[in-house]
Symmetry: C2
Subunit: 443 residues, 2 copies
């Protein structure tokens, strides 16, 4: 199986089992925008919920926030996005196509697809022009400059402009952090690779406010903590690595930056970044808003603008990491089966429930078990087709357990519980199912 | 206390305790856009989670979905929004202000604020012009008509265009539903009343697909179920009522519509709608996309375009209902106290933990209890100020229980647990706290 085949198969499985659909598919689709189906929404909820629990609920020093997507336009002047969040674009005077000037070798010439537009005699290219990646819209009833607002290109700024309000309301002292999950938008000219690079995406960000002289210690702590968190999801260690930004890769605000990369079928790519953003953002907001954003240390009476250590994780990218990492094909009893080996805590459906045959009262017993279990966890009752086909469908959905109601169930109230990965089947009393599953689903 | 005072007090409490902040406040704020602070995000999460559980997890006939905010522009032609989602606006030639032509009596004349712009001799108004309420932006690097996309003005259409994909992937048959929580955007000219009417808002919608001849039965069932759900949150029954849309109030797609209204300080207003949308939406998408969206009944082989019963709930409005309904002021031992009497299952923080004094090892015991409890539920440890002030702060935050570590704790490991509403204090052994709280926090 080549890497391209793997991605094609994953996209196909994602649609077939209801993880991800193309947006507006009946209208031919909208470029690089995707919708999460019944299983995708549960997978993403499980990931976000786990992140929120570890960041906000299980710690005393991080507060949650949910800032709006629309913000005052001055925010993006202060952050540098209005001026600097741009790509250089060139047009071809012959074929009228548009390309990123710094990535010509990643495009095909529309007239000779075997060639790149940058090659000699291929295209008659204009000089590069800078194009801003922010989506622009207008608030209020008049389309005039005064009312321009942008869809936020990152969630971080919503945290920075609220930092004083959060700190005061939550009675926090430095060091402390603010965590947020939310949508951001970038008008990318080269999106792609399924849900890896999309124009609408979701971020899980935590901004940690520290004393300037403690930035390096906190940077190292968060860098390690984030890698451990991903390993805790069950992602294979050999597919994860750090990549440190060289001086010429660093963003204008960053003193130090490490990416956490995963080896996708299309190469090693970043899905979380840990950044030392220094006091750049708060200093700029202080300058542009005219509001003091300094912190006064209650012990030393010292005043300073805090440094910020950011952990910025793409929720869609993480979902893709988890799906790619879980996908496998294997031969079982001479047949190929496709399995999503998701960690039980992340699986959208925790157990499939199957009456062996559609008679002798088995469907009714299965239905009762289903009604009982679904008060605790998402389960799915399926009586369609052979038991083998039903197992296969749930293997593809990543469902870790399969509960079968058979002839013996009617005599002694035991069912078989099949383990997705080992294929071992155990007989368990129906009354013990909640306990049995709870033990195996714990995070 | 007048109704205006109540809203002012609630907005002030919301900021002070970290429920809701004005967006981009340090830049003077962005009109009618709000950010949820540490407590607000938890309250809203609890509401959304409870809705999701009751709609998706506890039923077998409703699937979840998370469609993107950006959709193909044709979606909004089919839905009727491009043509018809408009307000009539008039300009004043003298003072250059702009008003809604159908609501002139709700505006003040900028030159004579005691008058409305529609009154005789007040303003020199233009003829009304229709203004579309959708936020428009451009996808891809060129601002040309072909690339226009809209921020969705409702989440429903994301469900309709995905209905076949969801039904097939999830192996559902009619009747079944699709549930979704997500943001929508309307460029309202008269937003207001805090988080009641905002330009960016979150909806919790469920669209239930039924046989055309079963629409009335399902409409009645959902209408009752939704009212019961709100009563289950602990909202006062006398503050809730149905309002049936008269024929001249019905939307173009609706055969029947009931609002669930709450008596806010600014009057009775809708926060959830139950609508019989007939086959309008699916028929239009069938027509505009050229894709068959019919359902074939597997039993009768009959083909039809399903009718849709919609339950559409505003998440921000529901949060406001819950806050308004919980707010009370009362005299306790000669002092005024402000209490948010939130149902324990909805409260952002479940328990405050207080060392009586900052010595004798009490802070350390409190910290240990805090670390132990926060693995189960959000708690907050506070050692700042008198115990009375600490209780008051958590009363305002809606925290149902207060756990105090005192001298006796050091001897026999019991703490006092104070009930926010009754003020009764019980002594409970520290080892029993999880069980004690779990019993009282159950939904």
């Amino acid at each position: 199986m080549t890497d391209t085949q793997l991605m094609d198969k994953l996209v196909s499985l994602a649609k077939r089992r209801g993880f991800v659909f193309q947006s507006s598919e009946i209208y031919g689709g909208l470029g690089s925008v995707w919708d999460y189906g019944p299983l995708g929404v549960e997978l993403k909820k499980n990931l976000k919920e786990r992140w929120w629990r570890s960041m906000v609920h299980e710690r005393g020093d991080i507060e949650g926030l949910d800032a709006a997507i629309l913000m005052h336009a001055r925010v993006w002047e202060a952050s540098g996005h209005v001026e600097g969040f741009t790509d250089p674009l060139v047009d071809c005077r012959t074929c009228k196509a548009r390309f990123r000037a710094d990535q010509l070798d990643q495009f095909q010439c529309p007239q000779k697809p075997s060639k790149h537009p940058g090659e000699a005699n291929q295209c008659d290219l204009t000089e590069p022009r800078m194009f801003n990646l922010m989506f622009k819209t207008f608030m209020g009833p008049v389309e005039e400059d005064a009312a321009v607002v942008y869809l936020r290109p990152e969630t971080a700024q919503g945290i920075y402009v609220n930092y004083l309000n959060v700190m005061q309301a939550a009675r926090q002292k430095i060091p402390f952090g603010i965590a947020q999950v939310g949508k951001a938008f970038r008008n990318e000219i080269t999106p792609g690779n399924f849900i890896f690079r999309t124009r609408e995406f979701e971020q899980m960000e935590m901004q940690f406010f520290v004393r300037p002289d403690e930035d390096e210690r906190w940077f190292d702590e968060w860098k390690e903590a984030r890698m451990q968190w991903h390993l805790g999801l069950g992602i294979r260690a050999e597919k994860l690595r750090f990549h440190e930004h060289a001086p010429d890769e660093l963003a204008h605000y960053a003193k130090k930056a490490f990416d956490i990369e995963y080896e996708f079928p299309f190469g090693w790519h970043e899905f979380e970044g840990i950044h030392n953003r220094t006091d750049f953002d708060l200093s700029r907001h202080q300058e542009f808003s005219g509001k003091k954003l300094e912190y006064m240390d209650p012990a030393t009476r010292e005043r300073f603008v805090p440094y910020i250590i950011e952990t910025s994780l793409g929720a869609d990218r993480l979902a893709l990491v988890v799906l790619v990492d879980a996908y496998r094909e294997e031969e079982v009893e001479g047949e190929l089966r496709v399995v999503l080996g998701l960690a039980p805590a992340l699986a959208p459906i925790k157990a499939g429930i199957y009456p062996l045959v559609k008679k002798d009262g088995m469907p009714e017993v299965a239905r009762r078990i289903n009604d009982d279990l679904r008060r605790r966890f998402p389960v799915f009752c399926d009586d369609g087709g052979s038991i083998g086909r039903r197992y296969r469908r749930q293997d593809e959905a990543g469902t870790p357990f399969g509960i079968t109601v058979d002839g013996q169930t009617l005599e002694d109230q035991t069912v078989t519980v099949r383990d997705r990965d080992t294929l071992v089947q155990e007989r368990v009393h129906a009354d013990q199912l909640v306990t049995y599953l709870e033990e195996r689903l714990a995070p």
